[in-house]
Amino acid sequence: MPIVVNVDVMMARRKMSLTELANRVGITLANLSILKTGKAKAIRIETLEALCRALDCQPGDLLEYVETELELVDR
C-alpha cells in the first residue's frame, strides 16, 4: 500500500509506549497494532485527531505517501 503509517516513528520521538498511546487515544492495543503494522483499511477522522493530540503532531507526520515501483513504471 503506498500510504505508510509512521505512528511508530512518532512514538519513538515522543518516547511513548504502545500501551500509553492506546490509553491516551482510547483505542485497544489490538487496533493500534493493526494501525502500526499498516493492515488497517481505513482510519476515522476522530482517531486521527486523538493520535495527533496524543503525539503532538500533524496528520502528515503520521501518514506518508510513498510511490511504489509499479506506479513509477506507469509514468
Binding site: 483505542i27 487496533n31 493500534l32 493493526i34 494501525l35 493492515k39 488497517a40 483499511k41 481505513a42 482510519i43 476515522r44 482517531t47
Partner: protein, 269 residues
C-alpha cells in the same frame, strides 16, 4: 436445525450404504416370474396376470375400435411419457399416486405385438407409462441405455442428497461456532448453490434422454400412435432445484458483500 440435519445425514448414509445394497441384492436374487409386458392399467381394471402376452397379430384394440377413431386435428391429445421403470415391490404405492395424478391410457403395450395408442381421454392429458419389472432377468430385457439411466438417476439423487445434507450440516456447524459472515460459510453456501443447480440440470438432461430412449424403445417394440396423439417429454419437477440453486447463489453473493463490509468495519480504526 443442526440436530435435524445431523440425523438426516446419518439416516441417508444408512440408506445409501446399508439398505440400498441389501435391497439390490435381495431383488437380484429374487425368483419372481419374469414378465416383459409393458402395460398401462385402466381405471377400475383388474390386475392383469404378470407375463400375459399378446400374440404378434393381436392388437390391443380391435379393428372396429381403430376404424371408429377419426383423426381429429383440432382435438389432438398431448401424451406425456413420464417413463419410469419400477421394481415390482414399489408398485402398490406407486399405482395409487399414478391413479390420483394421471389418467391411465386405454391401451396395452406388448413387445410381441403391434402397439396402438388411441386418442387420449382428454386433450392435453398427461399419462404415466410404467414398466413394471419383477425380476432381474426381466429388467435386463430393457435397452441398455434405459437400464443405465434408470440406475443413474436414483443414484445421482441419493448421492447429491447426501452431499447437500452434509454441506448443510457443516454450514450450520460453522454458523453456530463462528457466525455467518465468514469466508468458510460463504464458500459452503456457494457450493450448496452449485450442487442444487447441478442436480436440477442433470435431472433435466436425464429426463429428456430417458424420454428419448424410451420412445425409441417403444417404436422398436412396434408402437403405433393415432394422429391425434402427440408425444412430449414434459418438464421434470425436480429441475426446479436449478432455480433453488440460483436463489442460493444469489444469497451467497449477498453474504460475500456482507463479509466484505464486516472486514472493512473490523479494519477501520
Amino acid at each position: 436445525m443442526q440436530r435435524l440435519l445431523t440425523m438426516l445425514f446419518y439416516g441417508e448414509l444408512l440408506f445409501l450404504f446399508v439398505l440400498t445394497p441389501i435391497g439390490i441384492v435381495l431383488f437380484v436374487r429374487s425368483t419372481h416370474p419374469t414378465s416383459s409386458v409393458i402395460r398401462v392399467q385402466k381405471p377400475g381394471e383388474p390386475e392383469a396376470d404378470q407375463g400375459q402376452q399378446l400374440s404378434k397379430t393381436q392388437s390391443p384394440l380391435s379393428k372396429q375400435q381403430r376404424n371408429n377413431e377419426e383423426p381429429n386435428s383440432w382435438m389432438s391429445s398431448y401424451l406425456e411419457i413420464n417413463a419410469t421403470v419400477n421394481p415390482y415391490w414399489r408398485h402398490v404405492r406407486y399405482t395409487k399416486w399414478a391413479t390420483f395424478l394421471k389418467t391411465p391410457l386405454p391401451v396395452r403395450i406388448d413387445n410381441t405385438s403391434a402397439v396402438y395408442i388411441s386418442k387420449a381421454p382428454s386433450a392435453s392429458s398427461t399419462h404415466h407409462l410404467e414398466y413394471r419389472w419383477s425380476s432381474w432377468a426381466d429388467f435386463r430385457t430393457l435397452p441398455l441405455r434405459v437400464i443405465l439411466l434408470t440406475i443413474v438417476y436414483p443414484l445421482l439423487t441419493i448421492v447429491l442428497t447426501v452431499v447437500i445434507t452434509y454441506m448443510g450440516k457443516r454450514l450450520f456447524d460453522g454458523i453456530t461456532q463462528r457466525g455467518f459472515f465468514e469466508q468458510q460459510q460463504v464458500s459452503r453456501l456457494t457450493t450448496i448453490g452449485w450442487l442444487f443447480m447441478g442436480y436440477g440440470l442433470s435431472e433435466f438432461i436425464i429426463h429428456v434422454l430417458k424420454f428419448w430412449y424410451v420412445r425409441t424403445a417403444l417404436l422398436d417394440y412396434g408402437l403405433v400412435m393415432s394422429p391425434t396423439v402427440r408425444l412430449g417429454w414434459g418438464w421434470p419437477a425436480g429441475s426446479a432445484t436449478f432455480f433453488v440453486g440460483a436463489v442460493i447463489l444469489t444469497l451467497a453473493h449477498v453474504f460475500t458483500y456482507g463479509l466484505q463490509l464486516r472486514q472493512e468495519h473490523e479494519l477501520t480504526i
